[in-house]
């Protein structure tokens, strides 16, 4: 069991990683600035949470690439500009409509794209629906797990671009859960983190 979470230290990170609800999903925490002294090979998963300042991660691009080359798994959630420090990510931001649900019968359009994927034994469509920040053009061969209303990927698994694996999403659950705002984000983490532990916490063998 070895999951490392990058801990940028904002209140929503502190609430998400240090409070009792989810603390047991993270075997170790590391500050971005301490990554150079950290042996990432000890960990099966490195999680980089929502709203990690990209310029705190950019000094570590080579280290993250080497970790992936060694079969590691990186999980990166939204609003961190992950394309600036992780490989093979093409991201298009979109304006966020925080008020879509005020219209009776409105549908944000988020859909599960791979209903047989093990993640969706833990999550329903309503658990991945709160608002949107943008979409990706994943590399050929990546598995798209969820899409926005235009069918564009918002959550995918890339185990083709490196010897390891990346789980990439534009959803930002840690920010909202850690802000005590938007119950869907807590439901998301209630399902996503057990899946991360059961399915991702092992070396990638290809």
């Amino acid at each position: 069991m070895s999951i490392l979470v990058v801990h940028p230290g904002a209140y929503y990170h502190i609430e998400s990683f240090e409070s009792a609800r989810y603390a047991s999903y993270f075997d170790a925490r590391v500050r971005p600035e301490d990554l150079p002294e950290t042996d990432l090979s000890l960990y099966n998963v490195v999680l980089i949470p929502c709203r990690t300042a990209a310029d705190r991660m950019q000094p570590h691009i080579a280290k993250l690439q080497a970790y992936l080359d060694g079969g590691g798994t990186i999980v990166a959630t939204g609003e961190s500009e992950s394309q600036l420090f992780l490989p093979s990510i093409t991201f298009t931001p979109q304006p966020t409509n925080f008020w879509w649900w005020l219209t009776p019968g409105a549908d944000l359009g988020v859909r599960i794209a791979a209903p047989d994927h093990a993640l969706f034994a833990h999550l329903s469509q309503r658990d991945i629906t709160w608002h949107l920040h943008g979409w990706f053009d994943p590399p050929a061969g990546a598995e798209v797990l969820a899409v926005n209303g235009e069918g564009k990927p918002i959550l995918y698994v890339d185990d083709v671009s490196t010897a390891g694996r990346m789980v990439i999403t534009s959803l930002d659950p840690f920010f909202h859960h850690g802000s005590h705002f938007m119950p869907a984000t807590t439901r998301f983490l209630d399902g996503f983190l057990p899946w991360m532990r059961s399915e991702l916490d092992q070396k990638v063998h290809k």
Binding site: H7, P8, G9, A10, Y11, Y12, I14, E15, R31, E33, R51, A53, A54, D55, R56, S80, E81, F98, W99, L102, S179, H180, F181
Partner: protein, 201 residues
Amino acid sequence: MTVLLIHSHYGQPPEGYVAAAAAGRLAIVRERDLTATDFAGAAGLITTTHLDQIGFLAHADAYTALLDRGGRWFFNGHMMREFVEGLDRYVPLIAPRRADYVLTRIHDHPIFGGIDQRSLEENKGVAGFYGRGHNPPPVGAIAVNGIGPERRPIDWDWARPEGGHVFSHAGNDLGGMGGETGNGALLTQRIIAWCAGELGT
């Protein structure tokens, strides 16, 4: 002496702060680049919801010295660390409903002068953006605004016994909380003026 805005997130600071910096009223410094010199030259400081609270503790000597000499700190967000003695950890509302977001002015404060607090309650008809809990006020703090029927102190101003003032706004960055009235720009200007010592307490 200037006012220091500690810029913690990646990307541009809020527009009102950029304009104030251009006018020479504010120094904007990325949190990761902060040095003791930045604090030494400041009359006051503003921190945002994205503050790296763990990293900020490394500057405890510098910000405590700023307060000790009478400086002011406007804090936005949920306090999760005891930055100076007397502060305590954020307390969220539990399963809040609409009535729990009602805002009430408890004591007048120059930052909020002439602004109807209830006008800040909603954004496009939705309450909860202003804040959803409170940072426990230290002994002697003046509650400025309360949230919910119990009027928990979501905004307070504390004259620290050892010197200086801390203003706590336990929600989203106050300068972005103009509600339906467009008062966000005014609040931003007043936050800067308060930190500079140009507004009273």
